[in-house]
Structure formats: C-alpha cells, structure tokens
Amino acid sequence: MPIPHGDQGGRYDVVVVGGGPGGLAAAAAAVRAGCTVALVDAGPDLGGQYWRHRPGRLDRAPARTTFAVLAEAARSGAKHLAEHEVWTVGTDDRGFVVRAVNGSAERTLGAAAVVLATGAADRQLPFPGWELPGVFTAGGAQALHKGHGVRVGRRVVVAGTGPFLLPVAAGLAADGAHIVGVFEANATSGWLRRLPAVARNLGRVSEAAAYRAKLATSGARYRTGCAVVAAHGDTHVEAVTVARIDADWRVRPGTSRTVRCDALAVGWGFTPHIELALGLGCATRVDFDGSVVVDVGEDQATSVPGVYVAGEACGVGGAALAVAEGEIAGFAAAAALGHKATAEPDLAGRDRARLRAFAAAMHHVYPVRDGWRDWLEPQTLVCRCEEVPVRAVVESVHELGATDARSVKLLTRTGMGWCQGRICGYATSRLVALESGEPATELGLAHRPLAVPVPLGLLAGSPETREDP
C-alpha cells in the first residue's frame, strides 16, 4: 500500500521497534555493524518493561550493567524516538515504512530492514470480580512501582503462575507493601523433572532463590497449588477468595477461604505482542505455553525478507534470551544489507540455545490448566471492554452454533472493544474450545489491523491529523 506521508521521520538501514532488552540489543548490534538505525519506543525512556526505571534513577535498575552498555550504544549511534507507538508497518518500493503515533501526531520512518522487539504483556484469565478497581496485572503492579514509585496497595495479594510473581512480590514488599500471600497455581516440583535445563541456567535459578529469600524476610508466604478464584468488593477490591486447586486447577472442595486485601496483582504467564509481524504477513507457530508467536530462523529472520523478530514476540523466555536474540537479529539485519558483523554471533547463539532450553522447561513447569473454567459464574465478564459475560459466550456456542473464537467474537462482541482482544484473547479461545470441543484458535483473535488505536484522519490517508479518534 502506498504511504502518502513521506518519510518525515527519516530513512534508515534498520528501524527497531521496541526499546526493551531485545530492541536495545538489536539496535546496539546494528549500530556496531555500521548501519544507520532508528529505535522507536512507546515509553518515555529506554528499557522496556524489564528495565523500567524512574527518571534519573538508572543506577537502581536491576542488571544495570547490561542495560547501561546497550542503552549507551543505542543512544550514541541510533536515533531514539520516544513516546511513539508503532501502529503499523507497511511497505513501499524502497522497503518498509514504520508509522508511529504520539497522541494525534504521526511520524513515519523508512527502513531497509525492521527488527520487531515488541515484547509481551501478562496473560490474563477471567474470574469473578477481576474487573474491580484494585485488581492489577502483575506487570502493571510492578510497572507502577518500578517506573513511577507508586504502591498499588497496603495489603497486597500476588497470584497466578510463573516465576515472574516472585520479583513482583519482592519489589512491592521492598516498597513497604504488606504482601498477604503469593499464591502460585502450579507445583514447583516440576523443576525436578527438568534438571538438565536447570543445571545449564544456575544464574536464573539463583535469581529466583534471591527473590524467595527477600520475600521470606518480609514475612510473606509463598504457597503453591493455590489460586485466587474470586475478588470481592463494591467499588474496589476488599477481599479475595483463595482456594487449593488440583493438578487440573479445579478447586479442592472445602479449601476456599477469604483473604482481606486492598490490591491484587495477578498474571498467568505472558502473551506476546505480535500484531505488527502479523500485519506484515510473518508466519507464526504455537509455542510451548500455548502462545501464538512469530516463527523465526537461526538468524531471527521471519518468513518475510527484511523482517526480524527478537524477544518475547518469537517465544516468551525473559530478558536475557531477548538480549541474545536481539544481538543476533541486529547483526543479521546488518549483514543482509552488506554490513559485516564485528562481534561473535556464536556466543549469542550459545546463550540463546541455553536460555531457550530454560524457557521451554519453565513453560512445562508453569502451564495454564483448564480448570479455571469452573471458577467462572455465568455473569463473570470474559471481555472487560465490551462487558461480555461468560453466559453470552457459552450461549453463542450451544445455541448459535459457534465453534471458533472468531465467530464468537462476531456474535458477542468479545474482543471487539478498545483492547481488541489483547486481554481476553487467550481465555476466549480456550473457553470456546472447551465449550465446543473444537481445537483452540487464538490466531483468529490475534489479527488486528491496527496495533494501537489511531485518529481516523491517519486511516483516511489525510496529511492533516485530527484530534478526535
């Protein structure tokens, strides 16, 4: 599609989308290889979610050495476009056109190659009361604390599954919150069956152990095989129901109890942001954790020539893996443009293999089981934006004959609101699969023509942008 706006943001060898670990490593590598590089990021400062920090408090960011090195390399050699969200990547006769918005103003950047390092957000499951104010995603609670110095509550419950719950809880505790409990749905004994991956990644294991120790010091309890299955309150959360669950995540009868709190931080793994890659036509695959991710080759190249992906968007695996993948992607993009790599891609490749093995083990230890279906009530919202209850989704399957998430979306408006199914996409596809007996099709909800809502004037191709979305 021809782009009417020209390249008022400039033209580059490589445009990197995302300023987190993967994007920073990609930008730094491409700069080192001699490319002209632009780095476009939604945040006010570099770092993404993992290295999110308060302005001027860089020295307190965790893993500051890696961040400082990469950020310095990216800052010195790449054009950094902050507070700009990329809403689409198109093509023209010279390559790619990256279109980014800040409010109602748009910048477009031309690129010979793009590296998409768009990251991920907490995967969510519906449960009664999850739409109450005071219920936060685990990443949201951490972002408020790390990026803004704000505590989400005084008495906080942390729940869900995955090792990410530990740094979230430890950070909130260090900030003075009373952590009432950390409730991990899975049994962590699963690690014992994955010892080879553990042995190759002792650094990752000791990181988790350090968070556990910090938590223990604060008096917080870490309980496995438990879940928050409901949140209660009138205008904000005042209590949650915690229950012991079995291996399929069904509530064990007689184990439910009410826990008073003023905030809940909850997350069930991560859902990668793959909209831009899907928009470009990149091939996808389903990863170990059930997420739809972009399929990449040895050099992080996608099925579309000139498009590379690094980090969570090609498989959730954490910051260290994203750095390795970003470095490989940055050098590969540069090499394809005729710039010779100056570093050792072998080293990053070995890191990547080791960290991917760990990520695969992690996904097997912390799966999401379907028993959460039994926590729901007919009026529990599946889609928060359009306020679609479970009842409507179930009816669309059993009374209207829908057998896939896309049909359910059209019949019920689930996933059609502001967030475009980013929050409810996983749960909707699982719910429809469970009700219909057909395999899950999350991809049907993952296709979004716009990665972020934009003013209508941009879609119309008008050079003048309007204020009203």
């Binding site: 969200e85 408020l144 990026g147 803004h148 110095g149 704000v150 505590r151």
Partner: protein, 90 residues
C-alpha cells in the same frame, strides 16, 4: 514544590516522570471511568497501555490512557463516563 494538575477541578500533586494514572493511584484514587453498558467503575489494570481500562479525558481530549500519558503541570484531567463524549451509558 511539587507540580500539580487538575483532576475533576481539584489540584493533584505528582512527581515529575509519573504518568497521570500513577499520580492518581498515588493520591488514593482507584477509579476514574465508568463503563458504557453497566456504568461500573474502572481504573488501572494493565498499567502498560494494553487494556484501555484507564481511559480519561485530558485537556478536552477523551479516551486517553492514563497509564501512558505523562503528567504535566497545569493539565486539565477529568474522569470519564461511558464513551467519553458526555453520552449516556448504552
């Protein structure tokens, strides 16, 4: 002295670098939007720009994500009902 913005007509202090949403949570404000259908309160959920639960009106522009917009001195921030265009809940 810390900078302020107006929230529904009252002065609300913030720290430079905070988002509007973070400043509201810090001030003990849990919700600032009601939903279009059921009129239920919403505030920050994801905190990173994905869920669009934290919409409010900034300097007359409705449906702005509180978690993404940096707080600035003298901003006029207003809570928002329904679709943000002063229309009644459907």
């Amino acid at each position: 002295m810390r900078p302020t913005f107006a929230f529904d007509g009252r002065d609300l202090r913030f720290q430079p670098g905070q988002s509007v949403g973070a400043a509201l949570v810090a001030a003990g404000v849990r919700s600032w939007r009601t939903t279009r259908r059921q009129g239920r309160p919403r505030g920050i959920f994801c905190g990173i720009g994905v869920c669009f639960d934290c919409l409010l009106t900034v300097d007359g522009r409705p449906n702005v994500r509180a978690c993404m917009v940096p707080a600035r001195e003298g901003m006029d921030v207003r809570s928002q009902d329904g679709g943000g265009h002063a229309d009644p809940p459907r």
